[in-house]
Each structure stands twice: as structure tokens, then as C-alpha cells.
Point group: D2
Amino acid sequence: MNYRTVLDKIYINSKDFPKMGVVSTSIPELAKVHPDKFGIHLTTINGEEIGVGNSNEKFSIQSVSKALTVALAFSKCGEEIWNRVGVEPSGNPFNSLVQLEFEKGIPRNPFINAGALVIADILVTVLQNPKEDLLHFIRTISGFETIDFNLKVAQSEKETGFRNAALANFLKSFGNIQNEVDVVLDFYFHQCSIEMTCKELAHAFFIFANEGKTKKGNQILTTSQVKRLNALMQTCGFYDESGEFTYRVGLPGKSGIGGGIAALLPKQFAIACWSPRLNEKGNSELGMFALEQLTTETGMSIF
Amino acid sequence: MNYRTVLDKIYINSKDFPKMGVVSTSIPELAKVHPDKFGIHLTTINGEEIGVGNSNEKFSIQSVSKALTVALAFSKCGEEIWNRVGVEPSGNPFNSLVQLEFEKGIPRNPFINAGALVIADILVTVLQNPKEDLLHFIRTISGFETIDFNLKVAQSEKETGFRNAALANFLKSFGNIQNEVDVVLDFYFHQCSIEMTCKELAHAFFIFANEGKTKKGNQILTTSQVKRLNALMQTCGFYDESGEFTYRVGLPGKSGIGGGIAALLPKQFAIACWSPRLNEKGNSELGMFALEQLTTETGMSIF
Amino acid sequence: MNYRTVLDKIYINSKDFPKMGVVSTSIPELAKVHPDKFGIHLTTINGEEIGVGNSNEKFSIQSVSKALTVALAFSKCGEEIWNRVGVEPSGNPFNSLVQLEFEKGIPRNPFINAGALVIADILVTVLQNPKEDLLHFIRTISGFETIDFNLKVAQSEKETGFRNAALANFLKSFGNIQNEVDVVLDFYFHQCSIEMTCKELAHAFFIFANEGKTKKGNQILTTSQVKRLNALMQTCGFYDESGEFTYRVGLPGKSGIGGGIAALLPKQFAIACWSPRLNEKGNSELGMFALEQLTTETGMSIF
Amino acid sequence: MNYRTVLDKIYINSKDFPKMGVVSTSIPELAKVHPDKFGIHLTTINGEEIGVGNSNEKFSIQSVSKALTVALAFSKCGEEIWNRVGVEPSGNPFNSLVQLEFEKGIPRNPFINAGALVIADILVTVLQNPKEDLLHFIRTISGFETIDFNLKVAQSEKETGFRNAALANFLKSFGNIQNEVDVVLDFYFHQCSIEMTCKELAHAFFIFANEGKTKKGNQILTTSQVKRLNALMQTCGFYDESGEFTYRVGLPGKSGIGGGIAALLPKQFAIACWSPRLNEKGNSELGMFALEQLTTETGMSIF
């Protein structure tokens, strides 16, 4: 089975996919995107590069960025980050405060918002110029120097991000935010506003498929760290739909409410797809369907 | 049975009361108060005034203020305030966010912090000069012109009030805060910082005992409004210990983490007591015990 | 103001009351009752007896029985019953298991199902012939010898009472049921099946209004016990609508899904009303409205 | 790297492993096992069979059986089983009732007790002789005809299984148990009482490693079904420690409070280990450590 053939087929099938789900309106700036955008890019260990649809168009990566910030924090601080955030699926929506209260301010995992805010706090502490350094990291691992924040989106998130402000203050009340709340939120809103194409995102996630090494061969994470981050994406990458994604697709990955999903098969490929229509759990309807077809058609998954 | 005799007896008994409970350290400024302060003041419909112990010493009324702000909001806006806050006991600690999430941003009652923040938001909207007007209201109902904020306490709360900031932002995310979060918090931290003596507080609560009228005869609330506020204090005035207080004491009342408790028997008396040692629910140990003795000795309670 | 006049007025108004709410279908046998039945009976300390509507027709008292069983247990065992069940409002529906899990098998209060099952377990232990003795107790306090179980209703509850079976097993798993689960459930289903008229129920609740004494002058409970049970009914008698009932009506009372409500004003009167249409909280729509009118029209309430 | 070498090393290291954790006392019969038992058996696609320690000693498989019952139900009924039980990690302890209440009787996944009870109910419905047929199924997939229930353990569970009785009744109250509660519980207690050796268990789990085929080549499950069950074990197999197990070990698997863990690497091997000392989440301390060493030493995991 040939990846090109499968992706072409998925792309053709996407035309008939019911226009279910809606574009996120949680951030006004995001609501402006055209709902029928759809692109995929796949990049393999063997050097294949396959893109279909709007795979070279920038979109807001939103929570997909959480996989990249935790990778950066893990590479900088090692296992000690798990003292402040767990590795368990939460079983709750991504922005829930309930669990945090029962668990005294230790977020279940770094992919729910509370956990990502703790990771943001860690990065604000350890990075010299947090926002610039994050951009630099993502440019380095992906090899694309033009990746940048969308300042309008960041500003839009700031103006409407009361739930995240609630989470950050709540974490601070438990002592699990060390910097100023506003500084951490500013970093977090910027990280979510990053815009990338499917191709760029697939290349960034390539390090997770390639035992920690970039396309150019730079070792960013150790083999062990990559395994652990992949494990984390498998169990927690899709909020309270992580089990469903694992069940249907069987690849570690991370989604965002911009409609992006990045996933990978260890030692084989990294892939990113984008379709802004979201299901009620906040994951891309068509994106999940596309990835399910990929693993079904190729018979390739981690299981 | 004579009130003076009972209060003297309670005061004498207080000397032997075990020094249980600890002064609240949630706000650094509050932690400075001497733990063994104890005072009571009782004021009756018939004009009796009885004070024992440190009844003329100022203390931080903290959440006792919630009964006064809801009275002011009720008098200004009537029943419509219940569209934004409920009248049910919460069954949870005063600063819990859990219930708020399940109930989509409508706090259970105006005496948990979330509900008090909504009342604060209402007052910020309807009052010309919110902070000044609140002071004016409390001075008017109590008849004491010197009642004031303690600005150091207000500032101290601001610097450490991350849980309240979380609640306010959370409410805002549900659309149940209409003003700027910072403005509402500033009002709230000031209301909590108000300092009063037992005598002043008893006089302020006199309106709840006297069918809405002050000592001087000004009708502040209607008879019906007073009944409803008393009902609310009865079921919700002591956080998740409201049932216990009703069971042991049987009077409508409101407590604060400054160690103050104000209570009343309709058409008979209003009373305020103060002892800063708190039990684990955040209510004054000795204060509750004193009021239990009062109703036991006199046989007077609403039941 | 004359009680007869007020009750007649309430009865006339009831004709125009919107036919809101539905008869409980949780137990098939209960669903057979005519939805438009409506009766009230009021009995005063001064010996007045006033009945309107279907006040002499039997209905299933259901959870109203919980006030009677806790009274019996309290009279037999005293304060130690509170080691196994609390006195706090639950803030949750009557048959919730959630809180029980967090609180390790100690139900919040004796009026939620879990708490009533613990009380049933206590009675099964301390009574010689539990079911007969309970009947005897209710006959004694009310003065009506014909009060009895409805065995068809008891059987119907048994066949469909899986939620209660879940609660009882759950309590047993925490060690807070000492007898066989089936024996406790049998007692509980019988107690709920008791049928009484409004008049009989008002007379039974008379002991709560009359400082523990029956019409005939027998002292069943101490003054102190009565106050405490009244306090408990005030804060917990109407499930997660207890605050609303206290706010609107301002009398201690207890409701059942048969549509009955019994309430009282200490030292004045006991009252029972019955209308089978329930609101979504499981309380009688018209019954609550009737009692609200009573306290509004007479100006009499505990507040 | 040679499996024999690794297992020998793990076995030697186990001697120094701190004697942390305690044998489950939830079932009196289970509490009798010697805490220091330890065995591993690994069976590969290539026909290797490696056992160390007490690998040929029977133990109570307990919840490991849930992976086998869901496999049987899946093979009989296909995808429709997911209408009655989900595929999401629960984020809660294995015997929690809380989530079930919020989610109206649909258990999160088939590996928490509530979900396993629903699967038991399905099997009771579709199997001719449920208990015998289950035994037959396990004997067939493993190739060991002597596998059997331990009737004393089954009886012991019945006498103390109030939490499971609560769950079953609760499910029944939501209509998600179709057979008699007692019949379903009887089946469930028997399934948990099954005794197997590490070798037998590894052979039973071999079908999950071998694309649905037994050692003898019988196709029990389709390739697709196996992938999905592996996915499910990955995200949900270790209760609220599933994330931790995935993070540390990176293999699909299932644990039981008898101290057993069965796991597998697709297309490579199945493995079972046994050590009765449990951590606070109810998983075998030494078992998890052994499997972590295995994947660390061999570098083999699904990630």
C-alpha cells in the first residue's frame, strides 16, 4: 500500500463527508476561518513528502502547541516537570476546573488547559525570552523559519479567555503557578496563536516519529523522552475523546480547536491534517475520520 | 430568664472554653489578630443593649458583609437578583468552583464567594459610587458613622486572593459578571475589609430582627424581604456547616473568617459575637458555642 | 386573620392553579393516583381543626415518613444517631450516590434516601418488631389506629427500587448498614408505602408543633429534640429545593413524591397538604404554592 | 537482546525490590496468598516460551478476566456492545459510582467494574451456559483445559461484594442491566475467581499479540477487533493509573487485584506476571516495575 494512493483516496472521500460540526467560536478571530478547508501532509522516515488539499495554508494550531511546549519543557527540565502535572487521562473536558479542585491544583496531564498553563509557567521561568525562545524551538524542530504568532488571535484570546484566567488564578491559589498570572497567560495565548501549515506541523512532529531527531538530524529529545511523550499523547491527546481516538485511529497525536490534528507512527511517519469543523468534544470531525481511514487502509497503527 | 444574666454566664464560661481552632491565615493581615479576643453584643426590640468582653473592639467582618450587600442589592433590585444567584444551600466549601461548573455559572446562593461576587457585580452596576455607597448604607442601617474599610486588609486580600480571582473570571466566562473582573474584585475585597465592633454589627443586623426597620425607625427592607433574607441566612449562612448551625443554634445568621458571627431572633433581638479561632469549616468555634448556649439557656429560637 | 378563611381562599385559588407538574411514575402503583386531587388539613395548638378538599382521602406518604422514622430513632437512641448520618443539606438530588462516595458512606442528612436507609437500619436493630412497631408509633403520635402500609405499593417499590438497592449496598460496603440489605430495604419500602390522610398526617406532625407532645398530651420527644428535628426539616426537608421552600414558605416541613407535604409552625399549628403533581425536584407544585399563600396571607412563619 | 537474559535479570532484580504494597484484603479468600510470590511468563510469536519464578503457580486473575470477557462479547456481538459501555479512560477509581451517575448509567469503559458488569450482562444474555461457556472460551484461546473457577473465591466475593452489588443495582436502575442482578453478579464473581498461571495467562493473551489467532492458529477475533481491544487496554487497562502504565511501560495490558498483569507487544509477544503486593491504585507494584524493565532493557514498546 502506497501512502500517496491512500491520501488521494482520503482526499476524494472528504468531498462526500457530511458537513458536520462547527468552527470554534470560542475565540472571535478563529470563527472567521472557512469551515470547509481541508488539508493533510504526511512526512516519512524514508523522506517521502505527500500533501493533499489545503496542506500549505496556515491555520491556528491552538492546543496542538501543547505537545510542543511540553516537549520543550521536558527537554529543558527532565522528569521533574511531573511533580507539577500528571500523566493520567482526565476523563473531563479540556477546560474543567472540577478535577483540579479535588486534586489540589495538580492538573491531570499537560494537555488539558490547566496542565498546559503549568507547562507555560515552567517555560516562563526557564526560558530567557520565553515567547521568542518558543518560536525558535518550533522553527528549529520543524525547519521552517517563518513560523510565527498571530498577534490578532493572541489578543482575541486574551480578551475572551476568562476561563483560562480562572484556571491560572486557581492554579496560583494552589501555588502551582510561580510567575505572575498575566505573564503566564500572555505566553499561553501566544503559544496557542501560532500559525502553521499541515506541512510545517508534520515536520515539527517528525521528532516524535524519529526517536527525537529532526529531519536534519539534530537530537532534540532522547529516545526515552520521545516514547514517554508519545505515550502521553496516546492517552491524553484528545481530551475526553482520547479513548475514542485511540480506539478508532491508534496513533499518538494532539488536536486543537483550530481544527488541526498532528499524529505519528513511531519510526514510520508524522502527519498533520486540518479541517475546522469540530465535534462536540472539540476535535476535528473530518480530521479524525481521515486518520481513521489512513490506519484502516494501511493497516498501520501502533496496535 | 434575663439576657444580661445569660450573657454574663456565657462570658464566664468562655474562659474555660478549650482554645480550639486557629485564626485564619488566608489573608496575612488577618493573621495578626489576637486569637483570644472574645466579645458579644445583644440589642433587643425593647431597647436593651448588653455587651460583654471585647464587644467594642473593631474586627474584620469579612463574609458577614455578604448579608449586608445582599440586603442592599435586594432593596435596590428586588427579586430579579435571583435570576443570577440561587437560594439553595451549596453543600460545598465556601470557595468551591466545582458546583459552579456543573451549574453553568449560577452560584447556589449569595453567601458562598461566587454568589457574593455576583452580588458585588450587581452593586457595582447599580450604585453611583459603589464603595462609598456601600459604606453609607452600612452606616445608615447601624447608625454608626465611623464604620470604614481597612485598606491594608483590602490590599492584603487583593495580593493573595487568587481563588477569588479564579471565581470571578470563571463567572465572567459564563457571562454572570458584567463589569470588569478587577473592578468587581476591588469592590469585593473592600466589602470584606470592613471593620466593625460587635455592637455596630448587632445594630446593623437589627433591621433583620425588626421587620426591616432601623433603630431610628427607617424602613430599609420590606417585611417580606426581611423574612426571605432571614430564610436565606438560616439555610446558607454558615457554608457547609449551615445545617449544623441551624441544628445547634436555630437562629438565622452569618459568619465570617474574621471570627465574627451576627445572628437574630425575629421580633426579639439581634446579636453579634466575635472570637477569631475558627473551626475547620471556617466558622468561629467559640462564637458558635456562645450562641448555642444563648438559645439553650433562654429556650428562645425560631424552632 | 382566620385560618378557616385563608384555607378556603387557598382552596378556591387552587382551582385556577395551572396543572403543572406530573404524578410520579417512579413506582408503577403510585402512577395510578388522580393528578388533580388536592386537600389540606390544619390543626392548631388551640384545638382548631380545618380541612379543605380531599383532606380525608388516603395517599402514599412516601418520604414524609422519613420525618417520622428519624423522630422514632431519635427518641430511642438520642444524639448517637448523628454518628451515622449528618445534619447538613446535601445540595444534591434525593437519590444521589455521588456525595456518599466522597463522604465515605456517611449520608448528609436523614431525609435523602441514603440517610433514611441508615435510619431504617437503626430501627431494624433497635425495634422488636420493626414494621409493626413503626406503625404503632405513627398510630400513637397521630391518634389514628387505622393507619397502615399499602402492601401493593411496598411490593411495587421492591420490584423497581434498584436505585435504593444500590444505595443500601453502597452503604453496606462502607459498613454503615448493619443488618441484611434485604431486611433494611423491606422495612424502608414498607415505611414509604404508609397511607395517611391530610388530617392524619397533620396530627402526626402535631408533636413537632407542640414541643413533643401529642394531642392527648403524651410526651414523645423532648423539647430540645423537637427543636432539632424542626431545624433539620427546615434545612433538609425538601431535597435540593430546601432553600427554595425555606425562602418561599418559611416553615419546617417534609415532602414526599406521593405529593404530600407536612409542615408546622412551632407552638402554633401543624398542617398537611396533598397534590400529586410534582415539580422537577420531586416536590408537590400546588402543595408548595398553597403553603406559600398560607404564610404570606397570615404573615406567620418562623422568620 | 535476548528475552531469556532480560527475564533472568528482572527476576534477579526482583529479589532486591522493596517489599512495598500490600496484598488485597478486599476479598478474605484473596488475603491468604503469600505476598512474596513472583513469576513471569513470556511467549513469543516465534514460539519462544520463557518462564521465571512462580510462573507455573495458579493465582486469582480477578480483573484481568475483564479483557477476556470483553473479547468474548466483542467476538459475539461486534461493535454494538459500545452502545452500552464506552471506550474512554475514566479518570476515577475502578469501583467509583460517581461518573456513572453523571453519565446516566453508561460506564466509561469495560475495564472499570461497572463496565465489566455490563459486559457480564451481555454474556449472560448471549451465552447458552454463561459460566461454562466462558470457561470453554478461555480454555480454547489459551489451550489449557484445566483452567477453572475457584468456588471459594467466588463465594467470598459474593459475601463481601456490596460495592459491586451497588453498581449492578445502579446500572439496573438506568436500564443498563437486562438480566436479574443476582444472576449477573454470580457470573461476574465467578469470572473474577478464575485461577490461571502466568503461562496460561500469557497464552490466553497471545491472541491479542497474534492478530486474533491462538497458538494453534484458530482465528478468534478479527485483526481489526484485536487492534481495538489493544487500544482499549492501552488507555483503560490500569484504572486511574492507565496513563502512568502507558507512560512507564508502553504496552497494552490488563491488571487484577490478585496481583496479575497480562500485557503484549503486537506481533511480538504476550507476557503475564504476578506479584500480589499492590500499590494504592490496586496494581501490582513489582509487576509494573518488571514490565517497565522489560521495555526499557529491550527498547521494545509500541511507542
